[in-house]
């Protein structure tokens, strides 16, 4: 009862308390390692990335071209039907200019990152990736872009086989 309660529990510790060692604590660093199964759809997707191609699955029932590819359609709840290649061009749906890395550490040069919907997949379907070949002032939602692939011999079957997406040139496809 906020109006009737006078003591709110909780003893605050400051960052200084911590740094000066006034706080009893114990430290533990987990050492867990994982080997994820890529699965049926993603294994083929990663294999095709090494060939410089993006692949999707089609569902005959809802007539969608599903990207990222999946072995079952979550909408129709049935197995998907066939593989189909889509294009490596698309449209920036949204983006961020990030000054944070994975551990929330500050980085001086921002990362341009966002979602690109890909040509040939059903509307709005795409992937998260980096953007390059443009400045933070040039990037905008709706910009047409194209994948920049790593040299073939450096591809390892990872989304990082694409370095990022760059602006699509005039008349280019």
């Amino acid at each position: 009862m906020t109006a009737r309660i006078s003591r709110w529990p909780g003893i605050e510790l400051t960052a200084a308390d911590l740094h000066e060692g006034k706080v009893t604590q114990t430290r533990f660093r987990p050492d867990a390692k994982y080997a994820w199964s890529a699965g049926e759809a993603m294994s083929r997707f990663l294999e095709e990335l090494q060939n410089g191609r993006l692949i999707a699955r089609t569902c005959r029932k809802c007539a969608r071209v599903l990207f990222p590819p999946r072995m079952f359609c979550e909408e129709c709840f049935r197995p998907t039907d066939a593989w189909t290649y889509i294009r490596d061009t698309g449209t920036i749906e949204t983006f961020s200019i990030s000054y944070l890395d994975t551990d929330a550490r500050r980085i001086p040069e921002p990362i341009l990152v966002g979602v690109v919907s890909l040509d040939g997949a059903s509307p709005k379907m795409g992937m998260m990736h980096y953007f390059g070949g443009m400045t933070k002032d040039e990037i905008r939602i709706g910009m047409r872009v194209k994948a920049v692939w790593k040299p073939k011999e450096e591809r390892r079957g990872s989304v990082l086989d694409i370095l990022g997406f760059r602006p699509l040139g005039e008349g280019e496809s």
């Binding site: 979550e74 990030s98 379907m125 990872s158």
Partner: protein
């Protein structure tokens, strides 16, 4: 289904770091909630614990770890977790125990101790992303918000200063909250706009901070409330929850469809067909300022793209036509994920029973809605409560 009322609530201070362990925090919040309802542990039939990933505390099986502090031992006890949505969802889980007739009294205890994870819980958030598609890109959780916020701003042409008004309102509202971590009576829109850019368009003061904290509520059946002659109660009149596909790069982030579906489910149960007219105030989930706007639209309390206009016009101020986050929200009180129940369910209870003190909405309120959000821009949970 039986009628269920909230009859007590409690919470600890929300701070970046508390000395208390998770169990101790749970005990404090639970004891306060039971005391406020005039009940003891012996009156409790079942306990629901809501808490986010084990990795924050660094203790696996966190539900079991917190058990004693939640007053749950030797009782039917369940831990629930729906990401950030837990802040409202755990009450729904408590509700169904009582509504079904399985229990007369259900205790709901939510806890988060985010300070255990060093140097920052951000590294744990990284584990929510898909290991094959997303994680090689080394994503940061703030990216989710930045991408969603940018889409929202761009599609509707929303100005950043109109979004910043939400942070200003909530941090000012929090001045009246005894547990608040980031209350600021003097904050201005310029302070928000001039704060450090984290991941544009998200700046430091657009974000709620990580916190330690616990909260608890006591739910009881109508029969029990009558028999015990409990006066301070607020009825749960509607509940709803919904989750969208994990394929988050396949949907337009501009509108939270899953929140709208959860809201419609709750409104139907509460017999609300005109939410803007029938709901007096709202406590939507506001981990970031634009999320309050996004969620007001998902809750059908504003047309698409209209929430920033309502905010600019003062409609959502505590003395406005539709007060939003009168508690101070996550932006002002703090964001110990599941424990934000203290501002979502707890605040509805306190407002509807006239116990909110300095935060009390200055007119009579009969119906409030609270909502929480979580996972990969996927999950919505909604509770409607009436005086």
């Amino acid at each position: 289904m039986r009628k269920v009322g909230v009859i007590g609530a409690g919470m600890t201070l929300f701070r970046r770091r508390l000395q208390e362990t998770g169990k101790e925090m749970c005990f404090e919040a639970t004891k306060m909630a039971l005391d406020s309802a005039g009940l003891t542990r012996a009156d409790v039939d079942t306990v629901v614990c809501g808490t986010a990933p084990d990795a924050f505390d660094g203790v696996a099986m966190k539900g079991e770890y917190l058990l004693d502090g939640c007053g749950g031992y030797r009782k039917p006890y369940t831990r629930v977790f729906t990401g950030g949505g837990t802040g409202v969802f755990s009450t729904i889980a408590g509700w169904w125990h009582v509504a079904s007739g399985l229990a007369d009294v259900a205790l709901v205890v939510n806890e988060e101790k985010m300070s255990s994870c060093q140097p920052h819980p951000q590294s744990v958030f990284a584990h929510i992303w898909d290991p094959i598609l997303d994680r090689p890109l080394k994503p940061n959780l703030v990216w989710i918000f930045a991408m969603e916020m940018n889409r929202y701003m761009t599609v509707y042409g929303v100005k950043k200063e109109d979004i910043a008004r939400v942070a200003v309102k909530n941090k000012r509202n929090a001045v009246g909250h005894p547990c608040a971590q980031l209350a600021d009576p003097n904050i201005t829109v310029d302070d928000v706009l001039n704060s450090e850019v984290m991941a544009w368009p998200v700046q430091r003061l657009d974000i709620s901070p990580p916190s330690d904290g616990a909260s608890a509520v006591v739910l009881a059946s109508e029969d029990f409330i009558r028999k015990r002659r409990i006066k301070d109660r607020a009825w749960i009149s509607g509940v709803g929850w919904c989750i969208d596909s994990t394929m988050w790069t396949d949907r337009d982030l501009v509108f939270p469809e899953y929140v709208a579906r959860a809201a419609k489910m709750a409104y139907k149960m509460a017999k609300i067909d005109e939410p803007r007219r029938q709901i007096d105030f709202a406590e939507p989930y506001d981990p970031f300022d634009y999320k309050e706007l996004h969620h007001l639209e998902g809750l059908l309390l504003a047309d698409k793209g209209e929430a920033p206009v309502l905010t600019r016009e003062g409609v959502t101020e505590r003395d406005g036509k539709m007060p939003v986050c009168p508690s101070g929200g996550l932006l002002g009180v703090g964001n110990p994920i599941a424990a934000t129940m203290g501002m979502k369910i707890g605040e509805l209870f306190w407002q509807l029973t006239g116990q909110a003190g300095k935060r009390q909405i200055p007119r009579e309120v009969h119906t409030g809605v609270s909502q929480a959000w979580g996972d990969l821009m996927q999950y919505g949970s909604v509770v409607v409560m009436r005086a």
